[in-house]
């Protein structure tokens, strides 16, 4: 049954082609339904292949279906083929599954948009490219998918292209990713030059023969590609800007699927990573954990509902790279899957809020929304608990697994990685709670002018000029619940976020379904940690407590009055503590977070713009040479003649 693997990408491709030709004719909901059906069909095909793989022996759960001979390179041949193995199918399952839900959601979300069919054209093309990325049997097919998703991301970010901000965000995403792609391509060339193949199977087999330095170079170049696609330091700056696109896009591309491409790639090439020097994985782990921490601190100081989620995505991806770096591939994939559930949920939920608020994205203008949007609020809260790491929601287990491996990787480094990861978890709980409280709890603020709302959210520092709500006194907002096409996916994703951990429960080995499933792919290079059961429990409980602390702190800051009213006996004694926390979180803490956010917005962005400016300045200087005078040009040619002649004459004597 695994030979129908070609069907998985073929269905979205077919959907894309049909919509491209007849999208306009199908019109408003028709195009959306067709796209959804294509994606759903692909999900079913994935299930079939999954069942086929389950039927095989564990060691033979890998089959390559070659479609056609693609191109000759030198004396070799690269094929277009699909690799159906546990890793790729696990990826394909959640891509098509979550993808289908997001397609469905988009039908509601994009209602009334003039370019409704075009949106689904792009969505289907994206799903096709993403499947190409994960199912490709060699680096080149993956690269084609990799570029394809980048292109779709670019097209979708600038979907509402009349807006200059969207246009420039799309440009930024494209160019930043090109830097990453550059690393990816170099890695391909290097692999080709040294191993003579780009096929995953042959790469895995031949990785052992690689010199340490070559393997390290390939791995780190691929990692450079991964930092671009998965928005890690130093190439993360495009993702927050990419939030300018329609929200389903943010959910599908910039949270659930495309951005995990980098993690997938590093997992896929784990034999090469293992063949490199020991410090190469450490680099990845540190980049991951630092990204996780920095992004979390930035997220604390954001007021745009989607920006918070964007930085949170960067932070969570950092966790995944931390896992890859410490050799916890299963944990990385596990977190990738649970993250896909809850982050898609959160994005779609925020989309629902934005939809209901008539396009408003500033959290300072929300509040108390749980009363008018009950389904959205309930599902969003599930997602919040999942990402905050509250047991027994899925995020707790997957994050805990990563932290456990970080701890177990040993030495002072392991402890440091763990500690930073833990602090990040605390911050995550804090900023997510902050978001939930600002949006769904408290007093409704959507009909207040901005100046008043600044007082309500004192911790925001009241920058009135920030965000989208710059103009005071805009049209009346009547928040309302979203249509069923939008709420159904929310509910489904909420359920998945709540119980997603069942695929890899830590309690007994029997429950490690994902680990056993992925064993043929990553087993050989998966880290084995030796941590006592007691320590495991202690770590888990510690993480859970910390998550609760984060939530409570946020509650103290953003819901102070309400908390006191509801549970006075608990907090009455903690008055001064609460006061202190509030002071810190509202004073120096806020300033710190805002400073980090400022640094991100000005220095990091500035560096990128600086490079662009450098190119432009260099160009202007060079332009002066192109003076238009034919005699100057003759001078240039003569200079070239002298250089060339001089060089060759010098060869005579050297």
């Amino acid at each position: 049954m695994t030979d129908v693997v070609w069907l998985i990408p073929a269905l979205p491709l077919a959907g894309f082609l049909v919509l491209l030709v007849a999208g306009r004719r199908l019109g408003e909901p028709g195009a959306g339904w067709l796209a959804t059906a294509a994606c759903g069909g692909s999900f079913l095909a994935t299930l079939v292949v999954y069942a086929g793989l389950l039927g095989e022996e564990e060691h033979s759960r890998s089959s390559v279906t070659t479609l056609f001979e693609w191109m000759p390179v030198g004396d070799l041949q690269v094929d277009v083929g699909f690799l159906a193995d546990p890793l790729s199918i696990a990826m394909a399952l959640f891509i098509t599954g979550v993808g289908t839900l997001i397609h469905l959601y988009s039908i509601g979300y994009m209602h009334g948009d003039a370019d409704f069919p075009k949106f689904f054209v792009y969505l289907n093309l994206f799903v096709f490219s993403m499947l190409l990325l994960v199912l490709g049997s060699n680096l080149l097919v993956t690269f084609v998918g990799w570029e394809g998703v980048g292109l779709c991301s670019y097209l979708l970010i600038s979907f509402w292209f009349t807006d200059e901000a969207n246009a420039s965000a799309g440009k930024k995403a494209f160019v930043t990713n090109r830097v990453g792609d550059w690393g990816f391509l170099l890695a391909i060339f290097l692999a080709f030059a040294t191993l003579g193949t780009v096929d995953y199977g042959e790469l895995a087999a031949g990785a052992g023969e690689l010199a340490g330095v070559t393997a390290t170079a390939i791995a780190l170049l691929l990692f450079l590609g991964a930092t671009g696609k998965s928005a890690q330091i130093p190439l993360y700056i495009w993702l927050p800007d990419a939030m300018a696109g329609p929200t389903p896009v943010s959910a599908l591309i910039h949270a659930a699927t495309m951005v995990t491409g980098g993690v997938f790639l590093m997992t896929r090439v784990n034999p090469i990573l293992a063949a490199g020097y020991d410090w190469a994985p450490d680099v990845i782990a540190w980049v991951g954990v630092v990204t996780a921490f920095v992004a979390a601190t930035i997220a604390v100081a954001q007021n745009d509902i989607k920006k918070v989620l964007a930085y949170s995505t960067i932070s969570q991806l950092g966790y995944m790279f931390l896992a890859v770096g410490v050799g916890a591939y299963v944990a990385a994939v596990f977190h990738m899957i649970t993250h896909a559930f809850f982050k898609a949920l959160l994005f779609l939920g925020s989309g629902s809020v934005i939809h209901g608020m008539g396009g408003e994205q500033d959290m300072r203008r929300m509040g108390g929304l749980r009363k008018v949007m009950p389904v959205t609020a309930a599902t969003f809260i599930v997602g919040w608990l999942a990402i905050a790491g509250v047991p027994p929601f899925s995020g707790f287990f997957s994050k805990d697994e990563i932290l456990l491996y970080a701890w177990g990787s040993g030495g002072a480094q392991g402890r440091a990685l763990w500690a930073i990861g833990l602090v990040t978890a605390l911050l995550t709980a804090y900023y997510m709670s902050r978001q939930v409280f600002m949006v769904f709890f408290g007093e409704p603020r959507w009909d207040e002018p901005v100046a008043a709302s600044a007082g309500a959210a004192a911790a925001d520092g009241g920058e009135a000029g920030d965000g989208t709500a710059g103009e005071a006194g805009h049209a009346e907002v009547r928040p309302h619940e979203s249509p069923w096409q939008m709420t159904v996916p929310l509910v489904v994703l909420a359920v998945l976020s709540a119980v997603g951990e069942v695929i890899n429960l830590p309690f007994t080995d029997d429950l490690h379904f994902l680990e056993r499933w992925l064993h043929p792919v990553v087993g050989a290079n998966e880290a084995h940690i030796d941590v006592a059961t007691g320590t495991k429990w202690a770590l888990a409980v510690g993480a859970a407590v910390l998550a609760l602390v984060g939530i409570l702190v946020a509650a103290a800051v953003y819901l102070r009055r309400r908390v006191r009213a509801v549970e006075p006996s608990v907090l009455a004694h903690a008055w001064y503590y609460d006061e202190a926390i509030t002071r810190f979180a509202g004073g120096p803490g806020t300033r710190f977070f805002e400073a980090v956010a400022w640094f991100d917005a000005h220095v990091v962005d500035g560096a990128v713009n600086g490079v662009a400016a450098l190119v432009r300045t260099g160009g202007r200087r060079l332009r002066a040479v192109q003076s238009g005078f034919v005699r100057s040009y003759a001078l240039g040619i003569s200079a070239g003649v002298v250089v060339l002649l001089g060089y060759f004459i010098a060869r005579l004597y050297v």
Binding site: S627, F629, S632, L635, S638, A639, L645, I649, L652
Partner: protein
């Protein structure tokens, strides 16, 4: 001895002619100097037993090419004296001198590196056969293909000349910004001439300055014409 004299005279003619081309302010004089070089080279051809080429050189070059150039000069009335003391492009002269000296030095260096000797295999030439016969044979054997394709070159010359000689139909097209650029260029030229005029204090300066002013006026007139 005879050879030495012949070489000395011809080489002198060549060099004087070449320098004349470069340094004559009047383009007609330059063309006539070119003829000097061409004749000198023809003599040097004869000195090297290339009699037929010498004849062709005189007929084609001096007889046709230079005459054509002179014809165009006269026809268009572009025989206006070029003020060589003016150099609108700063540093152009010095850079040109350095670079052409560099080319000279490097080429001579390359020639000297082999002791001014050829390094290829020296052939056996049948000295009893006249050079016209040898040339003819060479053209129709080794260089047959090259000989045939020169016809294409001549066809292109004819077709090209016809294409360019056609009078345009319709108004001239002027792009935005083009008129400003033309005025700017004319101003630059006028400034350079004024600068050169200020530096020198020789006689006949007045005439040249007048000419320079005229050129500036002409440039501006052209610019105005364009703007219209």
């Amino acid at each position: 001895m005879v050879e030495l004299v012949v070489f000395a005279v011809a080489a002198a003619a060549c060099l004087v002619g070449a320098l004349g081309v470069v340094f004559s302010e009047n383009p007609v004089h330059a063309a006539l100097s070119l003829v000097g070089t061409l004749f000198g080279i023809a003599v040097l051809f004869v000195a090297q037993e290339a009699n037929f080429l010498a004849a062709v050189q005189v007929i084609v070059y001096a007889g046709a090419i230079v005459v054509l150039i002179l014809f165009v000069l006269m026809l268009l009335g572009v025989d206006r004296v070029e003020n060589l003391r003016v150099e609108p492009l700063v540093g152009q002269r010095a850079a040109a001198a350095v670079l052409s000296l560099g080319v000279l030095a490097l080429v001579v260096g390359a020639l000297a590196s082999t002791g001014y000797e050829v390094t290829g295999p020296v052939g056996e030439l049948d000295v009893t056969v006249a050079d016209v016969n040898r040339l003819g044979e060479s053209l129709f054997t080794d260089y047959l293909f090259a000989f045939e394709i020169t016809s294409v070159l001549l066809v292109i010359a004819v077709v090209g000349a016809i294409t360019l000689a056609r009078r345009p139909r319709g108004e001239e097209i002027v792009d935005p910004g083009q008129a400003e650029r033309e005025a700017q260029l004319a101003r630059r030229m006028a400034e350079a001439e004024a600068r050169a005029g200020g530096d020198g204090a020789g006689e006949g300066e007045g005439a040249e300055e007048a000419e320079g002013a005229e050129a500036g006026a002409a440039g501006e007139a052209a610019a105005e014409e364009v703007t219209r």
